[in-house]
Symmetry: C2
Subunit: 199 residues, 2 copies
């Protein structure tokens, strides 16, 4: 039994497919969109299709981009001696927002997870290895997530890259700035102690 | 500074305009949509535009519909002696889901709110009054929300409709089924006591 007019039901159904959007939220969003001006609804619809049609993966760093090579790979002012390896395009944005890193990036598009059948062939590892022969390159920063899969990915890549004579580093783990030692989990605390530095 | 490729930034921006969707959620949704098959993204975009283009308001009951008159107003099996007045098309769905009401509906599209400048002219009151001359009609159920605005709307409509010799009723207020008396708010409890029935 359809309680709503068919186009409304279909919109609610499509919105429900989004992650974290349950039927009630989908209904609320659908009615919000119906109350909007047609031009606003069309702008959202257009943006969804455009994001698919007008973005691609940079053939060099595998980051999401609207040009190939992407603006990071094109930018002559970026430090070509450092390469930061991340799991996801969002990680590139997180690091860029610090305004503290000016090297290049490489996006793996995931982390090793044998349980889910994700091995090195499913990640952009081959593409990473091809970039390591660049004469300017000196250091590879492994910035995969501090999760079991991320650690495994970094360990795997370190073993692969070290023999090539490049400096391989891993981002530091420890207490987040502003965090409370009392509430830190044990693993983080162990990492914070291990990574202690002399002042 | 654009951290994302322009089409991705625009999608995140458009998604952020939705109610309850902050920048982080918008980003997560955008990347989810980018990972989907193009056909799935297009289906959502299509549904958004279709919901606008293929729905209209029934010229009789003002409910959201894909036909005019809507299927409730068209349906000869519905009881034309009762008319249930609600604030929103979603309220029609909520009542339909009970499978307990078989009369007609009228959607006001809001409630009286002088503070927000919403008077009877902003609601579908004129359209409601035009329907009350129907010879079959005997009872008008006022089912606006149990809020200050909803109560004011019902009181206003009752004053308007009663002199026409129709039975005017208001849906009952009280403790929700499965609710806990201890946790009920005072206003609800007062209403529950006022509305007590002899067993």
């Amino acid at each position: 039994m359809l309680y709503y007019a068919e186009p409304v039901s279909r919109l609610i159904e499509e919105l429900s497919k989004l992650p974290g959007i349950g039927p009630k939220t989908a209904q609320r969003l659908a009615f919000f969109l119906l109350r909007q001006k047609r031009s606003d609804a069309v702008a959202l619809a257009r943006a969804i299709v455009d994001a698919h049609d007008k973005t691609l993966y940079c053939s060099c760093c595998m980051n999401l981009s609207d040009s190939d090579p992407c603006r990071f790979c094109q930018d002559e002012r970026r430090d070509r001696s450092i390469l930061c390896v991340v799991e996801d395009p969002r990680d590139v944005v997180a690091i860029e927002k610090t305004r503290d890193y000016h090297g290049l990036y490489h996006v793996l598009h995931g982390s090793l997870s044998p349980m889910e059948g994700i091995g090195p062939e499913q990640l952009k590892v081959k593409e990473l290895m091809a970039r390591l022969s660049s004469p300017a390159l000196q250091e590879v920063i492994l910035a995969s997530n501090p999760t079991v899969e991320g650690e495994a990915t970094s360990a795997y890549l370190a073993r692969l890259i070290k023999p090539m004579g490049l400096k391989v580093t891993r981002i530091a783990h420890g207490l987040p700035v502003g965090g409370d030692l009392e509430y830190a989990d044990q693993v983080t605390l162990v990492r914070a102690l291990e990574g202690r530095r002399e002042l």
